[in-house]
Symmetry: C2
């Protein structure tokens, strides 16, 4: 009689969860991937959806489709509500409207992170973050809608507020968003409006730290500031945000009238992290992330691994390559255990990091070497096309980028209803 296969339940279809599931394709296990979304999201390109360069479908392939050839994997569209570590099962509200109990032998939790307002959750309505497809569509509607409103607004001060865009947070997402909004205003929309001069739009990038792009060398940080300023972005460093509402933001005590504020200041671990911390005594550190062990397991629960943006490991940044590596590591560890071979501790291999600022402009650190300008930008393009999932998406994104490069156009500019009204 054959034993039932070892059940691996993976919560979350982001980079960490997806790479864990895929890494188990040849293992003698039954994988169930649970996500409340039907798609994987290629988050590093989400800012391009938010600024009209790409459509959501191009960077959000269905999880089922990605795993369609993996015979030992099942996808469940459901929202995890609770985890019973003693009974080894989770309860999730399924797409069918019923609660489902999903048992496991090994649990891999990769539920990711959400926008962190650092105690000011009330700011979220005025300053959306950028974590989901819906967020990107919302930001796209606000940014493009602000130019439409400015075109009609006759009061000069009110018009200026529509043409002022504040991006809070100087990490890669903030830098990329600010750069794209500046290019949108200065290049793409320049000829589209009659009454308003979009090139006079004000794009402010603010961070409380004295530098952009924490973790980059001082030289590259300075380069990023220079590049952004050349694009027309006002970079305001060492400036904390005191207040945000729908008419503007207060930066370091100075009031700035702005109808569009975007929050890219930080993330915190998904709510599941707290439940797991309370149930196991695993400490939560910065942003609520779980301080997992060197094998990514929770305290006293070797059968429960947590990975991706919801965990904190010294020296491992919250970036997509780290999540992919953790996913692969989790798969290898589970396979090794089943084979009775020892699993090593997780070791992060820093393959480098790149942030794009605009056309022909990017900064990066690859194997300790600082890069900038056109070379870094070309590497950025190549890396992102390579890791994008799906041949068709790669072709479509490559085409959109090529045409945008030639025409300075951004053509995925639908404003949908349901967004905030002026």
């Amino acid at each position: 009689m054959r034993a039932a296969p070892h059940r691996v339940l993976v919560v979350g279809g982001g980079f960490a969860g997806l790479y864990a599931a895929r890494g188990l394709r040849d293992a003698p296990v039954a994988v169930t991937l649970v996500d409340r979304r039907n798609h994987h999201l290629f988050q590093p390109l989400l800012y391009q959806v938010a600024t009209g360069s790409l459509t959501a479908g191009e960077i959000a392939p269905p999880l089922r489709w990605i795993l369609r050839r993996q015979r030992n994997a099942t996808v469940v569209l459901a929202d995890v509500e609770s985890i019973d570590l003693d009974a080894r099962s989770i309860v999730a509200l399924g797409a069918d409207g019923h609660r489902h109990e999903l048992p496991y032998d090994t649990l891999v939790v990769a539920a990711g992170a959400e926008t962190n307002y650092f105690g000011h959750d009330g700011w979220s309505a005025s300053a959306p973050g950028l974590k989901s497809v819906e967020d990107a569509i919302e930001i796209r509607g606000r940014v493009l809608g602000a130019f439409e409103a400015a075109e009609l607004e006759r009061d000069p001060a009110a018009r200026e507020a529509w043409l002022t865009f504040v991006v809070v947070g100087g990490g890669p997402t903030g830098v990329e968003l600010a750069g794209q909004i500046a290019e949108l205003a200065r290049d793409t929309l320049r000829r589209d409006f009659q009454h308003v001069d979009t090139t006079r739009a004000r794009v402010v990038l603010a961070d409380a730290a004295p530098h952009l792009l924490a973790g980059y060398s001082a030289r590259l940080q300075a380069r990023a500031v220079r590049d952004l300023r050349q694009l027309g972005v006002e970079v305001r460093l060492g400036v904390p945000v005191d207040a945000v509402d729908e008419t503007g933001a207060s930066l370091g005590g100075e009031r700035l009238a702005a109808r569009t504020v975007i929050w890219a200041a930080g993330v915190r671990a998904s709510g599941l992290a707290r439940a797991l911390a309370e149930a196991t005594g695993t400490p939560q550190v910065g942003g609520g992330r779980l301080a997992v062990g060197p094998d990514l397991t929770l305290r006293g629960r070797p059968e429960v691994l947590a990975l991706g943006d919801m965990v904190a490991i010294d020296g491992v940044p919250g970036v997509a390559p780290a999540a992919m590596q953790m996913g692969r590591y989790a798969a290898a560890t589970i396979a090794a255990r089943l084979a009775g071979t020892p699993a090593p501790a997780f070791r992060y291999r820093d393959k480098g990091t790149l942030a794009t600022i605009g056309r022909n402009r990017a900064v990066g650190q690859v194997r300790g070497v600082g890069l900038h300008g056109r070379l870094a930008w070309a590497m950025w393009l190549g890396v992102h096309l390579t890791y994008l999932i799906g041949f068709q998406n790669r072709v479509l994104v490559f085409l959109r980028w090529s045409i945008s490069y030639l025409t300075r156009g951004r053509n995925a500019r639908v404003i949908t209803r349901g967004r905030r009204r002026a």
Copy 2:
């Protein structure tokens, strides 16, 4: 002293309004195009967004971008609230949140049509229509979400209701939607699910008339029924819809348990039609459409033209080519009047009509000749690519279609939140 140019105000950026605006590019006029959306919508391909083949951005180019090189045209993002025919001005709520008064010398109203529930507006929540990008995204979420729910649902009867799709209305939109859902279930999703056999999904196309595709020859109508049945669609003719709710529909007295019902049974003129009818005494005929004169003007108001789906002219169907022709006619008429030359009456040139059913299957009537099968399908592809606006969109759609043809894939399958929960 130069006189101020003649002001032409165009309400609506669909085919009729857009072609009117573009047709005036060399005329000595100042054109203002008002729309509450920022994009033109290529409605003939909207069903492909609703079924995951295309993304919204590919068929919804920004109006501003389309008209960017037309120096005498301005685009205003605003929702028309009222029209004062005596004062020759309209009031519209702008994207800036203020009301704007827009004066005109000639008014072109092309506000289109909306879904018609024939007195049962309460059915709209249970059976969405397909007129806007939001509608398409909503239907896509419901259709794809139904398969997800079926995968989880354990009760056989409830599962069958999730796998039953009812399309009400046998015009081109209904035929195209039913064919696409059948192909989605039988080809695209076949390998993506483990617990449910998507090929057993039931797709019902119902119409109260005894035939599909009114206006086509009896031979082609029969061919469409045969093609749909070969795809696995249950075609139910002569069956009126008695009731619709979120658990199903009642067709000709028979209750059908179905969690997804789509309404493609008809359209009615935009609400502006009634206001114009009341103000001018122009009669409203079937679906509230304005019975305009042979020069598309309203009764007693030669300076007000109405066109597109909101008007009724004998022998002119409510299709995109007719709207384009009316748009071009309106532009030519306005230019002729300004030049002091006589304008002829509107004459519709029937260039033929095509409806696609599925892969290699379509029916069409072109210059009195009936076509079907692969030839009609190839013509359909060519015509739609030709009329799609924007070189980039043509390339992207061509690519998506080519890859879908080779792989039977449909990859624009994001389900976004905000849709109905189970």
